[in-house]
Symmetry: C2
Subunit: 203 residues, 2 copies
């Protein structure tokens, strides 16, 4: 993947100055997340399913029960729209109209490709584990042949993708700047809280 | 909305014990979030767009530029799948296979209904603002007639919906319980950081 020229469906049409198509921006946003929303057309209807993902090379990798609807559909080459969003803050303006949300999002369109080879499957699952906790893969019991068989893994190439980012403070109208209203940004942060050991109580 | 019987597309098929269809569970998950992922079929392809939402009565309310693709499509009665997901923690098991993520998610299928009346539009926008900060609506400059016109607002009834929840610790195989591996949950929390006043520096 190099910088991808926007296609008709990845070109950011509303507020085009928020759009970005360069590899660094897109991969940076993908690498900061854990859960994506996968959209597929199923029976003529859009279905949006949240699922864990990892970015491996120039692809998004998804996994699930090999019998699940998503793995079946994508493993057979079905098309998906994968969206990753980070909500970074509330933008509090002096007028109701200019309130907004700071965010970073990426949309990827692509067809699924089943990963079948055991070694490649294991490598993809390792990528998932390393996102949760670096070094984890070498600490835990590795998957058995049966477990690998029960796990469906698909890749979606990051070839047709775009990012959209809003950052910074409110953009108020000049005539509102004198209003006696608190204006600014309330940042939202995702943090890892203290780990709870299994067996130590309710969690 | 009362308890909704699962339909063919809302019935949770994988791990059905994680599914829930009761009003309290569904509304509780919706009321805990700010950004949803809206899936629509556009030109035969699934498109998943992140956007702010509010739950007002028994509907999800979305807004955007009245000229945007999403507002145009949903305002004309187009069908959407709206998904809200909270990622609550990483589940660290003793085996690679049993690693998981704790989450709460809701999927709603429905057709958009444009909200056109000025008073109803303003009430919907108030609901958005009150989610960001209670009491905010009365503090800021209210929307002008022109701003209201530029804002598209649609509701999607919460009539066909399901929730899916995973909570608690790892579910390891009995033969792995003796392994010398840290197992438990790493909770993820979304927190509001210290607000940054507009004009006080970079944000």
């Amino acid at each position: 993947m190099t910088t991808t020229a926007p296609t008709e469906r990845t070109r950011v049409r509303r507020l085009p100055d928020r759009g970005a198509y360069d590899r660094d921006t897109i991969l940076g946003i993908l690498d900061a997340g854990y859960v994506c929303h996968v959209g597929v057309v199923d029976g003529g209807h859009a279905v949006v399913i949240p699922t864990a993902y990892a970015r491996v090379g120039d692809a998004i990798v998804l996994h699930g029960s090999s019998k699940s609807r998503l793995m079946t559909l994508l493993g057979a080459g079905g098309e998906a729209c994968v969206t990753v969003t980070h909500t970074d803050g509330f933008v509090m303006a002096r007028s109701a109209f200019h309130h907004s949300i700071n965010y970073r999002s990426v949309v990827v369109f692509g067809r699924g490709e089943a990963i079948e080879a055991e070694a490649e499957k294991a490598a993809a699952l390792e990528a998932f584990m390393e996102r949760l906790h670096p070094g984890r893969w070498r600490e835990v019991r590795p998957p058995s042949a049966q477990e690998l068989k029960a796990t469906g893994v698909v890749r979606i190439p990051i070839a047709e993708a775009s990012a959209k980012v809003r950052r910074g403070g409110p953009l108020d109208d000049p005539e509102d700047m004198g209003l006696d209203v608190w204006a600014g940004v309330v940042p939202l942060v995702v943090a890892r809280a203290t780990p709870i050991r299994d067996g130590s109580g309710p969690m």
